[in-house]
């Protein structure tokens, strides 16, 4: 019988990663990595898919399961390459997107900028209609005006229309009617409704979300259709699954309905990878540290599950500061992201200080050492000069780095400005980017009341393992795991994720006065939606449902999520819900005001199916001596205990067998990433060929 395979593909900003897994043996077969094709991402996916199958001697029809995570949605928003999009809104409110919340997010920065709206003013049009706070129609929808405005937008060449009407979260009828008119008049135009995408109170946040959804909808639909066409031609016959920001996977058909839910698709997959490695290495709490070409992300996974936030900000335009981006109301794995990656550009700023990123050289022209025309020094260039990267073995030797170009760029743009040698400047770049990442990760941990000393770091991303131990040292983390395949971890993570769909409906009511028949109807509607999304999925009959409610004391503006195991909240849960809310509130804030009624705002339902049962085979321990894997020695720069280059053994990751143990300084090379092990750090290779590193903490970082 021919082997059955599972394939996972992760399209990142710089690289597209692949993992092929033998479904029967439960083991990864091969990894692969190609440069992302920014123009046509599907092209790189198809090319890498074919290359990887050829390497494994397999064919597309043996692939039984394909899962996909992608930054295509985020990139389209950040690079403003989405569709020309129009907005239809209630008369009087065409500028909601441009006015925003009107808050300065850095009180001392007179010039803190905001991102331009995704839809320019001339494409934001108004239609006469009005619904009140109670959902009553005050002014009926002027359908003739709708037709006129759709005509204007069609003539202007829009390919998508976002619809966001005042109080549509209370009464979606007018939005639905507009969708019907658009579909009738111009079926080629994609439509997104605020009452479907983000049925929550607050016109700016809701409009921002639906605008982003419409903006990327044609692009995602085209991409997924194109990709599926190609895969079909290669012989792949099964559905394609996509990873959602919330950390579940869903069918491609369901995903393209609400593309904005894919914004953090890749990072969500990465968090699942970290969770998986935490479990296989016996660590209860892990901090995933994912450093790629453009950004670094950190995510705390406490007790095996990443946190989920109800909102994220896309396209933060000012040094990744909260408030400088576009709010998107969609459930998202809670992580922190900063502009620090291998491609981050180093410069001497106006204060005469070294600053790194958030600008990135990305894949093209890339770091100076790529020799593709990049002149500014990047983190990768610094790492090359410090000896961390082997110029002849970048991407397993498929790309040759040119250290002399790196030295020139570092010397010219940084070293001379700071009066430092290229080596000192390179160390400055490496150390500064580490500090920046540690600072962001520390904030993330503190916000979650997590002591860094109690977590293990899982390092991945193309650049993660080269920086992980230093970042851990700054944070006071004592254990670092560099999993095998660290450079393709998001692709591995997607294989471990469950199939899950988060759904929400808004219905504001006092807990004591809820119309439970209405609640039942809301939940029936959500279950229908989940069933449609999972239609045709093997095992769909065993879907598990979990309900949660956003509750608050009446009059407050923020809610606490209260989980209710099981399918549907009912009248008999009232006392239980009130008690759970009181307990949660007291745990969060230390006290709860007495005598205030409790209000429910949003009603959630999560539908979940167990994902593909991904597993790794554990190998027995072998010899402790790593020398069989030793492929050479080179001079590598370390700061401690004494600054300077020192001879350092280089090991081949694929030759390091379970049980191997050694101490830094050492370099371990795999195709997708290089692990830098400074002096004072001890390494053991476990049964899954993960590198388990322990740091001696000197008390400095506490």
């Amino acid at each position: 019988m021919p082997k059955r395979y599972a394939m996972s593909v992760d399209v990142g900003g710089t690289f597209t990663d692949f993992v092929l897994c033998d479904m029967d043996a439960g083991a990864t077969v091969a990894f692969h990595k190609v440069l992302t094709d920014a123009e046509r991402p599907a092209r790189a996916v198809i090319a890498g898919w074919e290359e990887l199958l050829a390497m494994a001697g397999a064919s597309s029809d043996q692939v039984q399961y394909a899962v996909h995570s992608t930054t295509i949605v985020t990139n389209a928003i950040v690079a403003r390459t989405g569709a020309k999009t129009g907005l239809l809104t209630t008369s009087g409110f065409r500028d909601v997107l441009e006015i925003g919340i009107e808050q300065i997010y850095d009180i001392y920065d007179l010039f803190a900028p905001y991102p331009p709206p995704l839809i320019p003013r001339h494409l934001r049009l108004e239609v006469p209609e009005r619904v009140t706070r109670d959902g009553e129609v005050l002014q009926p929808l002027d359908e003739a005006a709708v037709r006129t405005q759709v005509d204007v937008l069609r003539t202007a060449g829009v390919r998508a229309i976002a619809v966001s009407l005042i109080h549509a979260y209370r009464n979606p009828d007018h939005e639905r009617r507009i969708a019907a008119i658009v579909t009738e008049m111009a079926p080629e135009i994609a439509v997104s409704l605020s009452s479907r995408v983000a049925p929550v109170m607050g016109e700016y946040e809701r409009t921002s979300t639906v605008a982003a959804d419409a903006y990327v909808k044609p692009l995602l639909r085209h991409y997924v259709t194109d990709l599926l066409d190609h895969l079909r031609r290669l012989g792949y016959r099964r559905p394609l699954y996509l990873m959602l920001s919330s950390g579940g996977i869903t069918t491609a058909e369901a995903a393209i309905e609400f593309p904005v839910r894919l914004l953090e698709s890749g990072p969500a997959a990465g968090a699942f990878a970290a969770s998986f490695y935490g479990q296989t290495t016996g660590n209860e709490h892990v901090l995933s540290f994912d450093m790629g070409g453009t950004t670094a992300k950190a995510c705390l996974i406490a007790r095996g599950r990443p946190g989920v936030a109800g909102m994220l900000e896309a396209d933060r335009v000012h040094r990744f500061k909260p408030g400088s981006g576009l709010p998107i109301m969609a459930p998202t794995v809670a992580l922190i992201e900063i502009g620090a990656g291998g491609g981050s550009i180093a410069r001497v700023n106006e204060l005469g200080l070294l600053s790194i990123g958030p600008e990135s050289a990305e894949a093209n022209p890339g770091p100076a050492s790529y020799g593709l025309g990049g002149e500014q020094p990047t983190v990768t260039d610094a790492n090359t000069l410090l000896g961390y990267l082997d110029p002849g073995y970048f991407l397993g030797g498929r790309m040759v780095l040119q250290p002399e170009l790196a030295a020139r760029a570092v010397g010219r743009f940084v070293g001379s400005g700071l009066n430092l040698s290229p080596t000192e400047a390179a160390w400055g770049i490496h150390a500064t980017v580490n500090e920046n990442m540690a600072q962001a990760a520390r904030t993330h941990l503190i916000e979650r009341n997590q002591d860094p000393r109690q977590v293990a770091m899982v390092a991945f991303g193309g650049a993660g393992p080269a920086h992980a131990v230093e970042v851990a040292r700054i944070l006071g983390i004592r254990r670092v795991i560099a999993p095998l395949g660290a450079g393709v971890a998001s692709a591995i993570g997607a294989l471990t994720a469950p199939m899950a769909l988060p759904l929400v409906r808004s219905y504001m009511t006092l807990l004591d006065a809820a119309d439970w028949d209405h609640v039942r109807a809301l939940y029936d509607g959500m279950r229908d939606e989940a069933e449609r999304a999972f239609a045709g999925v093997t095992g769909a009959e065993s879907v598990r449902y979990g309900a949660a409610l956003d509750m608050r004391f009446a009059g407050q503006y923020h809610e606490l999520r209260v989980a209710l195991p099981g399918g549907v909240p009912e009248r008999e849960h009232v006392a239980e819900l009130a008690a759970a809310f009181q307990a949660g509130y007291t745990a969060e804030y230390g006290r709860a005001p007495g005598g205030l009624p409790v209000e429910i705002l949003n009603w959630h339902l999560t539908a979940e199916l167990p994902g593909f049962a991904f597993n790794l085979a554990k190998e027995p321990r072998r010899e402790a001596d790593p020398n069989g894997a030793r492929k050479g020695e080179r001079a590598v720069y370390f700061r401690r205990p004494e600054p300077g280059y020192r001879p350092c053994p280089v090991y081949d990751r694929y030759g390091l067998n379970p049980g191997a143990a050694f101490a830094g300084p050492a370099i371990v090379e795999e195709r997708e990433a290089t692990v830098v092990i400074p002096p004072g750090c001890r390494v053991v290779v476990d049964g899954y060929r993960n590198l388990l590193m322990s740091l001696e903490q000197d008390g400095m970082a506490r």
């Binding site: 009107e102 850095d106 009180i107 001392y108 007179l110 706070r133 407050q556 503006y557 804030y589 230390g590």
Partner: protein, 551 residues
Amino acid sequence: MNVQMTDAAGFDPISLGIIWSRLIGIADDMWTTVLRTAVSTIIGAAQDFGCEILDAEGSSVAHSNRSMPVFNLVMPTVTRAVLARHPITTMREGDVYITNDPWLCAGHLDDIATITPVFHQGRVVAFTVTIAHASSIGGSLTSRTVREIYEEGLRIPILKLVEEGRRNETAWSFIQENVRTPDMVLTDIEAQLTANDLGGRRLVALLQEYDLPDLTTVAATIQAFSERAMRDAIRAIPDGSYESEVVTDGLDHPVRLRCRITVAGDEIAVDYAGSDPQSPRGGINCTLTYTKAHTVYPLKCLFSPSVPANEGTFRPFSIQAPAGSILNCSVPAPVGSRTRTGWHIHPLLFTALEPVVPERVQAGNGLMRSVHVYGQERDGHFFNAHFFVGGGRGASQGRDGIGRNCFPSSARNVSVEVFEARAPVLVRTRSLRPDSAGSGAWRGAFGHQLEFSSLPGYDEPVSFFLDPDRLRFPPRGLAGGQDGPLTEIRVNGRQLTPEEIGSGQLTLAAPADRLAVDVPGGAGYGRPADRDPALAEADRAAALVSANDSG
């Protein structure tokens, strides 16, 4: 933090960096707690509040990045006033102090400060302080008509709101009986206490973790760092004396503000001599505490925007204003609308310093506004909601004015949907106001146009309480840039004169009645003839600048 702390006395730089960012993080947690547990639109939605950690001397150590700037700057004053009244040795664990005295606190009665001593190892090691704008403090609804502070509401002296964990019921009931929508006001004060408690607990945990007996060394170290950064920045600008003058609407007659800024070495002195005397009517007077805060805030923005602020940041500044002047008023001057004067300190200082730091200052600001509605819903309960809207900011050398903010406040606007949910009112328009930006090589940000009515079906008159600014004097251009427009207020299409606006109370009797408020945009920077034609064309294409407008 992009700074190096090489001379951190007693701390290695990494630990100090961690502790410093943790302190800011604790203040941020306090801020989030208020936001999440408050119930009024002005605190829970518009975010008119601030949180800070101070050392045992009452010097500021860290504040939230989102805190109302002026609140951060008056918290040391109010905390030291508490210490003067209640020596530190008399404080007990579980005490909470309260006051809204405008001369000690944030300049008008609406801003209530709660001050919580934090105990560690049996003694006070710090204070957690929150100041928030109460949704009501009683008194007149029309700040423009009052003659003395006694008409403006309840003046709360420094007293213990909570004593060793027991609520001072006398104090609570005094507040309860003297404010509108008392449940809303008291729940918001609870939110302040919750935030202070949470901040105190987190702070003690931090001290325990680092085995620190108190905050003294940490505070002194980071204050010294911020102070040095500010002194370095001041030393980099030329010594000299820089003057300016602005004229504001005032009430019955215009008000003149004057300043002289003296830069000497690493210190700056600001003297407001020559500014008009305090106003006998309408709360447009500033207490000296408030004036000082609105002086050091823009100076911090100009000279040291990126280093975290604390007491040290502000030591190089000295500020004086003549007693009895509108910038240093005395009891019983009314002060409810002190932003009408205080927010003009920013353009005053920016204009004075334009010759020195032309690339950092901004032209005149259209200024944010609040529209307040108060009354009774048909079911009998009282509504009390504030609608905030930003004005456009002025342009700067090399860039158009930045809209999308309420500067110099850090509040956010109030969502139309949230506002309507809290009052029987319809917001019929909130959009950018075309032709509302002063032109120039760089134009101001656009202002807004608003239109309100009562909610059809409500059938009662609805009163709107406005306190408009820039009815007579527009935002001023810089370096040849043009002024912004004036505020326009119309009822049923007819523009009201400043005299007709009178008290600021405008009542819509019938659902068909309309109230329109046009908020000005910011002023321009540089000559309009020097504007990039492509930028001018983009504004016309967006229908924000009329085709016949030269800008």
